[in-house]
């Protein structure tokens, strides 16, 4: 289990996450949502051990994250940053293999497994510049999976993708959760969170406003409160869309 205990995170002298407590479970997809500047990305970075907590702490299987060695943390928690910013035009498979770095081996099986799981076989030798945005997102997720982390933390992995690629990446994340990994993702699209997450955390000004099953945490009342818009859910459960009220 990954848990935040009374967590406060400060960036540029501002408390971007304030006194937040939450538990994250393996085998689930937990979505973190909230308006711009609500502290979603900062919370994710702190959960990944990449931002120091100003107060409170993050616990991984009951141990404070700061007590773990960097290498142990890197093996347990895979982090996928928001903007894919790849410095060199390397081949897809070479990028995936970077995921083995915390293990210090070339982990052939894990790398091949990740390449297979994300259907990258036909693309593996292509340089990254020749991949579409959706293909690149799959390569970057495969990089995280190649490290066989217990936790997959992804910051808006679906943001720049078209609908088909969004659904395909979500299917991959669901497969991770089914295999026992804990998946925590920051999402902007409330419909994706409502339809696909097992649990949703809603943040506003760095504070936790709601934490629960999507239908409760993303109720129309909470959306009105947090985003300040009157909107209603349309459609069937599992395939709902959010429509503003006229």
């Amino acid at each position: 289990m990954l848990a935040a205990e009374d967590l406060t995170v400060t960036r540029a002298r501002k408390d971007v996450v304030q006194g937040l407590s939450a538990r994250f479970l393996e085998g689930e997809i937990t979505a973190i949502v909230g308006p711009n500047g609500a502290g979603k990305s900062s919370l994710l970075l702190a959960l990944a051990g990449l931002l120091q907590a100003a107060m409170g702490r993050v616990l991984l299987q009951g141990n404070a994250l700061t007590e773990l060695s960097v290498r142990k943390r890197a093996r347990a928690i895979g982090y996928l940053p928001q903007t894919p910013d790849i410095a060199w035009d390397v081949a897809a498979e070479r990028l995936v293999a970077l995921g083995r770095l915390p293990h210090g081996d070339d982990g052939r099986e894990a790398v091949e497994g990740a390449i297979g799981a994300l259907a990258l076989e036909p693309l593996r030798r292509r340089p990254i510049s020749q991949l579409s945005g959706g293909e690149r997102a799959r390569v970057l997720l495969a990089r995280v999976l190649a490290g066989e982390p217990r936790w997959v933390l992804a910051d808006e992995p679906l943001a720049a993708l078209d609908l088909a690629h969004q659904l395909s990446l979500i299917a991959h994340l669901k497969a991770c959760a089914r295999s026992g990994q804990g998946v925590v993702i920051v999402l902007h699209d409330l419909a994706l969170a409502r339809n696909h997450a097992d649990r949703v955390l809603v943040l506003k000004h760095g504070r936790l406003v709601a934490d629960g099953p999507p239908a409760e945490a993303l109720s129309e009342a909470i959306i009105a409160d947090v985003w300040g818009i009157a909107a209603q859910w349309l459609g069937k459960p599992g395939a709902e869309a959010l429509a503003p009220r006229a």
Binding site: A12, L51, R73, I77, D85, A97, L101, P127, L140
Partner: protein, 337 residues
């Protein structure tokens, strides 16, 4: 996945094995490899005491500059990074120049104070660059996207500050000897270098290369961006320390014995990159070997060119390097790199 040992390193190692003997034969006096004595009365002395140390020094310096360039490009995630352009070599030269100037006050003879000051200058320049670039004590809040412009500007400023201070040292030179020595440092050369310079530079460059080799995996991880690299267990403070030490040693030692020899660190990783899988760790060893080839060829060329006085190596490489840099900028603009 073996870092560094790849096809490109074999190619450049083979090339170097051909170039070293060729460069020994080339010069004002051409030496017949099959009959050294027939090439002139002093041929053996020329070979052993002039050309061999010069060739070895060219290899040592070229290897250091090539690897330092590859490491800096990897660290800055920027194909335009170069130890000379970004102020490291100018800072080392400033250190060397300062040791001429301060010679009378330093408790050490010049042959020791000069390399020490050059190394310190290089380390200082590197540390300054890293500090301005806001790495090291990073909490992940740094502006990752603005990196390229910031690094380049910071490096250019460090370079021009070092240049200004060097100019100041020239105008304030204590005596004519110091003045002529300072001016000599400003255009690097391997003319008249002996085994003494080899023994000074080789261990330092060797140590620097060893340190840089330790950065390979971390630099690979930086391909994914700084936060992803840290999530993979890269310790930014350790990486920075290794890089400052490695670049400081290789570039500082080169400047200490040969003055500023620019653009090697810029050109070489570029020529090598397409022959590798483009990961920084794969670039380090072939860049060292290719750098050795480039400096050796350039130094042999300036020796052979029929000019009244020998063209200074540093000038020759800048004449090649600056247009190359412009060409690179054009290609970058068109998105071809």
């Amino acid at each position: 996945m073996r870092p560094g040992v790849n096809r490109a390193s074999l190619v450049f190692a083979a090339l170097l094995a051909v170039l070293v003997p060729l460069s020994l034969l080339a010069g004002r006096v051409w030496i017949n490899p099959f009959d050294v004595a027939a090439s002139g009365p002093n041929a053996a002395v020329i070979l052993m005491e002039l050309r061999l140390p010069r060739a070895v020094l060219a290899v040592v310096i070229g290897a250091g500059l090539g690897a330092a360039g590859a490491a800096m490009q990897g660290y800055l995630r920027n194909p335009l990074a170069d130890p000379g352009l970004l102020g490291i070599a100018p800072m080392a030269a400033l250190g060397a120049v300062a040791s001429f100037w301060l010679g009378a006050w330093l408790p050490l003879p010049l042959q020791w104070s000069l390399p020490i000051m050059a190394l310190a200058g290089a380390g200082l320049g590197m540390a300054g660059l890293a500090l301005i670039a806001g790495r090291g004590v990073s909490d992940g809040a740094g502006a990752a996207g603005s990196g390229l412009a910031l690094f380049t500007l910071a490096g250019l400023m460090i370079a021009s500050l070092a240049g200004a201070l060097t100019a100041l040292a020239i105008t304030l030179a204590p005596n004519a000897f110091a003045l002529s020595q300072i001016v000599l440092w400003l255009n690097g050369a391997l003319t008249d270098r002996s085994w003494a310079e080899v023994w000074l530079a080789a261990p330092l460059v060797g140590l620097g290369l060893g340190v840089l080799a330790l950065t390979g995996r971390s630099l690979d991880a930086l391909t994914l961006g700084e936060e992803a690299a840290r999530s993979l267990g890269v310790d930014p403070v350790r990486l920075l320390a290794l890089l400052v030490a490695g670049v400081g040693l290789t570039v500082g030692a080169s400047v200490a014995v040969a003055g500023i020899i620019g653009f090697v660190g810029l050109i070489v990783p570029h020529l090598v990159r397409p022959l590798t899988d483009r990961m920084p760790s794969s670039l380090m060893l072939p860049s060292a070997l290719a750098g050795a080839c480039l400096v050796l060829v350039a130094d042999s060329a300036v020796r052979v060119l029929p000019l009244v006085t020998e063209l200074r190596l540093g000038i020759a490489l800048s004449l090649i390097g600056a247009p190359f840099f412009l060409w690179l900028l054009l290609r970058l603009r068109r998105g071809e790199v």
